[in-house]
Symmetry: C3
Subunit: 679 residues, 3 copies
């Protein structure tokens, strides 16, 4: 449970700009100076108050090794400041210039197949490479010292989308760093042999230098080696980030830092990363052709809020209309960009920014939309929407200090995610995000807000904890959950949980060994399905539902059966169970039931645990509450293509229109209301 | 408009053989000498008058570096000549012998992933490799000097299917050649940085030696780098060709040269290549399992004629029955080989040749059919068809000097093709050939012949110019088209045209900037569809059609709307427009309408522009006219599986049967008539 | 015809254990010693009498180069012996320890693309590598000398699943070995050039050192080079096996040796391998989600029996319930493991073993089931089934000396299999196993047992020989088959047979040249279909069937037509023929008819040749006979999910239940009866 009573100051990204952030990536180096003047004029027209500067400017700032050119950046910083626009200044290290590859070919990343990648796109560096790291840090030092006192500087933007193309590198230097990391983790080679289970397949290592990254091999690679490689690779990039951060913190201790996340990005353990950020920021590119993409987007926004421990976060990148990197790139419909922007604010963002300010004329992203599109600002739907949103946002400044309360937490452990999606499993189709979404979507549809929590979380304050697939058990999570339920909480857990320890070794003693007590059952066998295969479950009320993916064959050990298998040799045995344990209750789902069944189960869970929707509204309408000590801000977002009517249970002030609503408010398609009231 | 009034001599491939060419690739080195005697006897039986010799004979001619063996070639040249068979003599450089790879491993080509390919198949050379080029040129010099005066020599066949497997090489020597090519193109590194837009993603180059081929990289590679790589790679192979050609032209200035093209072969800019050939030749392998393959084949034949500026060309390779390189290789049905051969003659060919004379007994092409099949000549359908065609062809010698007239030209620019099909685009499904075919097929079905023209073409003489997707604008094509319409021509252009300049930089000022005046409109946004998505357009007559792939959101600026969107937020805005400009008219299609709609639009275009079908015939019958100063030759080809009756509008002499037809002629399934009449 | 009258002794795998073998792979090195004690206790409980030991123990036996540790193996051997359990002792060379790769990086295998694979999984060795071979042989020598007289040693298990991941290696050392192999095969480079047909595509080799493995190349690689590479690669691994075997045979001449096969494993010519084994053993992992997998499994069991010339063989590996290496791994249903085990015994096995004894706690196979599952032995369906089978098997000891008679033989030639499935063929869909199965399945359904025979087989004693696709003709098979038919046998052959010699050169003279006489026909052309295409054939009785894949266009030369094409230009020409030749009859199928037509044809063939089903039973019931000099053992296996009733034609004693059956026996779903009677 996140404490919603904080002071306003804590919620500001920077006291220098006590407003909702609005702006985008600004790459003036792509344009002649004449355009710069037009840019600042149009920024003012659009209500832009902050831009991200220099994200890909390394080659411009240091065109030759050690030769820095900051004049143009000085000029643009001054120009922006003169027009009242603050700067989120990049460390510019996301993509090294071609000269680095020429001077240090070993800085280029290598694939698991041994292909050394080339310059020509971006991010072509090995995270463990010394030459890259030294050059990056030297640049960061220069930047920090030059702009430490610049009045436009409001935030540091370290790197950019860490790992989005190169989450790991298999070169020899990475191998050396991996070995060092392993030595720190395990101390002795014997401990590593134990942890990796090298007694199998004759993999026993005699010395550290026999160990390599999980490069292309004849068949399935040792799973713990794969897992440690994931851990190491996330840490290697985090080390790059940390090295830059410590320079900035030394020179500009008062300037907050961030790096832009990418939602549920599997390669990086964002729980570890977020602890080292002053503000969490996120890039979000939902697919406009997917009618349900706003659900997954809401989920990633809830993650961002949770990563920061409930603090406001920044939507660092979205697109005004269309991107260029999907095979097919439809545009956002009129109103859609505004609607999705308000969704971010509803779920805790204090800023809305775009990639990028002005659509490029050249390069690989020239068909990625901008706030200023190729056709210009005259008679442009895109520009109109940008301008109107910019004009509207200041009306929301009152909610800057408001937080988003939640009674339910979803357990998300990156390491378990890595482990369960490795190869050589009972089923390759147990996918963490899809399992989480199967819980999240029914709750989203009922307008029940959830937080995400890591395995070492303090669960105090939550009524319900969901553990969709907690394959790996570590960090005392078994004890934590047992205590949580024992103290009156409700736990819902799905199949293939509690299977291995942090070394990916089976927890013997009957699946799911560490949770048998709290769940009151044993899983004797699991039976994964082939694609297209289904089974059915019959609930105690006689209703029958389809399920797919997986069957657990369950023995009850205290739990009661809520549903039974109807088919196959385990017909009549329990499929879904409920167990009163201590003061609380734990549910177990031995399969993946169809959506309508998940809705029914979660409704029962919520009712029992006294978790209530924010507001009862028609289908397709999203409602989220932000609140501070004394005020409540209700966001109502109509994702449907028709008008809807919403009944209110108290009088409210619509921040966007200034209207007062007493009983009901009507929202057109893709329209939004932000209703302020007392708590 | 191609001038059809030329002298007969200009139309002959060589004055030494004033007949339709008939023959095939002949590889006597695969067979014992006993077979050679049978070969020439059977060639005479089949009416063969020319063979392509030595295509893959390098290892046979030069078994060890510098050690040439021409005795066997002397013998076979003499034997052929003694039997009245002329020789299209290959330079034999298409595939170097294994010793080259052993001596010069660096001559082997390298993929974008860094894999150095091995000998064992064919074409294993890097186009920019010096060792390969020197060895090839030395061999060509030897051949030219030895056979300069041989009476059988009628044509030089340089290389073979240039680039069919290795259109580019990513090795270090290629990288060096690429850099040299870039220096010639751009002069300074600053100019290259500007052209490539390296201000984005920190790609700015400080020195030439930092530049590499577009080798495997972390993500989308700089699009101008990719484009220049395409240009360079086409030029690198053209340089190989040129070096051989200049040797031949020096030693045998009077012997014409060719190299065999492969239809719409994307990697090579055949407009540049064809200018360096005396006669255009083509290899054509339509898929017998595709009932529409003859349409695409007609299109490639029209391209061959157009590449040579209207001059007769050679069908250098086709197969008698079945090939071996598709996953499934059905055979040509009885009559199909003859029908497709006449299609080539109808569209301007003066020769019909096969790969190969005798089906191989061994090797990777042994299941590729030959004129002499494995089963031999007795009771062989294949051999019967070969023999009968050979007996029939001399009756067509009267049309040797006849050309194919056309009122319509389709704009085809290889560089725009390369650019529009690169990655990071609004839609990956805008494919040039498919767009061209959507125009070509309706015209083909109405028996309206078209030429192809390059972007720097003289459009004088054409009534209609079609520009299916002219994404890239260069070579003054914008002015050329504006003038063409202004002077009374009709232009039809499709969506995603006029988007970039030759550097792949967006032409700002509202899409499609350089064509807005002639089209009378502006495209505010484009909305690519995902697969399966459609929209509909309503024509002014109320008829409604489905369209897919793409929607333009159009503002009219002088044009009138011919059709409107019915769905989505731009419903009611124009989808297809017509603009009277100067003396002419321009049409614009902001989407891909279904075939029947294309037919209706193109019918309207043709009627307005007074472009008439050659003859009105039943569906499935193809009619093409060749004509010289005073005679007209009407080819009527029945592609259906039933007999059809054709009404004639004048009396004609059937060259194949000798009959005179006054009112009508009946054609059996897959039958052909060639009807001669006065003009 | 396999002689079923042998002495009992010959049929025993080892006289030391005159029982059905029962056990599994045992990997004690993965577990603490405390578990060892529990293991032997549980083995006794389960009726285990033999285990395979040390399969992946190399790194444990020789943790550092040359430093051997046998103490633990001594201990476990003694422990097993003390509990009456015999040992199939592995040479432990299937997977070298990581130190080998560190010491000898060149021992790692290389792919055709040049990727050198890494340690981290298993089998990471180049078969031709000297360092690997020397280290392996040194270890084998140590093992053999240490355990030569150990009373538990009953069988040597050389390597493990040879080639399952690395069937070939493309490194330079392999290239050298390949050249040596080629020199031995061809003697002179001229002979190699002839055999490979290098006159095509300029591939002529001047010296041996120009030759390479078929590494990645621009296009189709020389087919004879590919074929010789297959031959060489099978031989290279066989040489590894042979080198170990000769050491064992020298030191322990009386201990039989085996290596575990993998059914129809294409890369290794098991005919050559089996000649060097004392007992054939097999690993079998049918997919439980495939309702027909028991048919293909029966086929592979018949192959195992045939590889050993009819001698009993060992089912070395199967799984108790589920594996982990498929994308989805459903479990075996109750009774299914038992049923499939009896299927092996029915088809000639004298032992049933599992991978592995105890399911691993770590590593890539931890989700591969074991005899002792993760949940333990209490309340475990899997353990119950294991225990019950172990208790039951000794009742079958009477059939140890019984063999499986068969009247029909299917020709299987690995070299032809390799050749016909290479690229550049008329159709890529002519797949040997699918063609064999199309013959095998109808016979299986009628309970007619077949043997497999190699191309150099003695066909004496068989009534019918089936040659589904004998593309390549070698080893006098043409004469052999002609003589077989001439002497009264029946031959059934399918299309695309008799096409090439052992060099993959076309056998000229009209397809299928060497079989035209015996078949009484000529194939003028073949017409492969594209996917989805069909044709129809009409039988002499007027019935019509669908066929797909392929049409031969056939001229009769003595044969009579049994069926005619109904469609396409060859409608009315023969599709299936029958030819009386000498005392016998040959059938030819010029297409792939639908299953019901295959059943009809094979029924006619069997009736004519007097081949009768073992017993008439309801569909889904499998019946196989084993017999010795005076007793017959009828296995009846119910693969359906319902009970069935079987009529018997003589009184029989059910070995499993002890019951006597006179007229009929009822079998529940997945139940088995083994009925003993006099012959």
């Amino acid at each position: 449970m996140i404490d919603t009573r904080t002071t306003e100051m804590q919620e500001l990204i920077s006291p220098k700009l006590p407003h909702i952030f609005y702006g985008g990536d600004y790459n003036p180096e792509q344009w002649p100076k004449a355009t710069w003047q037009e840019d600042v004029r149009l920024m003012q027209e659009a209500g832009v108050n902050v831009v991200s500067l220099g994200i890909f400017a390394w080659a411009w700032l240091e065109p030759r090794p050690g030769e820095y050119h900051f004049e143009w950046l000085d000029e643009i910083m001054d120009l922006l400041h003169a027009h009242g626009i603050m700067v989120d200044l990049a460390t510019a290290t996301a993509s090294p210039p071609p000269w680095l590859a020429k001077l240090h070919p070993e800085s280029l990343p290598v694939t698991a197949d041994g292909v050394r990648l080339s310059p020509g796109s971006r991010q072509q560096y090995c995270p463990s490479n010394h030459a890259y790291r030294e050059a990056a840090q030297a640049l960061v030092k220069q930047l920090a010292e030059r702009y430490r006192d610049h009045p436009a500087l409001i935030l540091w933007h370290i790197g950019n989308e860490y790992g989005c193309h190169i989450p790991d590198c298999y070169c020899d230097q990475s191998a050396a760093a991996f070995r060092e990391w392993l030595q720190q983790r395990y101390g002795t080679i014997e401990a590593l042999n134990d942890a990796w289970g090298t007694a199998f397949w004759s993999q026993r290592y005699g010395t550290w230098d026999e160990i390599n990254p999980p490069r292309a091999a004849p068949t399935f690679i040792n799973p713990t080696q794969q897992l440690d490689w994931r851990r190491f690779s996330s840490d290697a990039l985090l080390e790059c980030y940390e090295q830059e951060r410590s320079i900035l913190k030394e020179i500009t201790p008062d300037v907050p830092v961030t790096t832009n996340f990418m939602g549920f990005f599997k390669p990086l353990d964002y729980w570890k990363w977020a602890r080292r950020e002053d503000v969490v920021s996120n890039d979000s590119y939902p697919d406009p052709s997917d009618p349900h993409s706003h659900v997954a987007q809401a989920m990633s926004y809830d993650l961002m809020r949770s990563l920061g421990g409930g603090k406001p976060w920044l939507l660092m990148e979205q697109v005004t209309s269309q991107v260029q990197w999907r095979p097919h790139n439809p545009l956002k419909r009129p109103g859609q960009m505004r609607l999705l922007s308000y969704q971010a604010l509803a779920r805790g963002a204090n800023g809305i920014m775009f990639f990028q300010w002005r659509a490029s004329q050249a390069g690989a992203e020239k068909f990625h939309g901008g706030m200023v599109p190729h056709v210009g600002t005259a008679n442009s739907r895109v520009w109109d929407e940008v301008r109107k949103l910019g004009a509207e946002l200041p009306r929301l400044d009152p909610l800057l200090a408001a937080r988003v309360p939640a009674d339910i937490a979803i357990l998300l452990d990156w390491e378990s995610w890595w482990a369960v999606e490795q190869d050589a499993k009972p089923s390759q189709d147990v996918r963490v995000l899809s399992q989480i979404l199967s819980y999240y979507a029914p709750l989203f549809m009922r307008n029940i807000t959830v937080d995400f929590v890591p395995p070492n979380a303090d669960l105090h304050g939550y009524k319900v904890v969901l553990a969709p697939n907690l394959y790996m058990v570590r960090d005392d999570i078994a004890q934590t959950l047992e205590q949580f339920v024992s103290n009156g909480g409700t736990l819902v857990m799905s199949f293939f949980s509690g299977i291995v320890d942090e070394r990916d070794h089976i927890l013997l003693g009957g699946y799911p060994a560490p949770f048998r007590r709290v769940l009151g059952l044993r899983v004797e066998e699991f039976d994964p399905y082939v694609p297209g295969q289904t089974n059915h479950i019959r609930m105690s009320d006689g209703s029958t539902y389809t399920c797919d993916l997986w069957s657990d064959v369950i023995d009850l050990e205290g739990a009661e059966a809520l549903a039974y298998w109807t088919d196959d040799f385990y017909a009549g045995r329990p499929a879904i169970t409920r167990h009163a344990f201590g003061q609380g209750i734990s549910y177990y789902l031995g399969t993946r039931p169809e959506q309508v069944c998940m809705e029914q189960i979660l409704e029962q869970v919520c009712n029992e645990a006294d978790v209530r929707p924010v507001l009862a509204v028609p289908p397709g309408v999203e409602v989220v509450r932000r609140e501070n000590a004394d005020r409540s801000f209700l966001f109502v977002l109509n994702h449907t293509t028709s008008a809807v009517e919403i009944g209110l249970n108290q009088t409210a002030h619509n921040l966007l229109t200034g209207e007062e609503h007493s009983e009901r408010v009507t929202l057109q398609s893709r329209a939004v209301a932000v209703l302020e009231s007392g708590r």
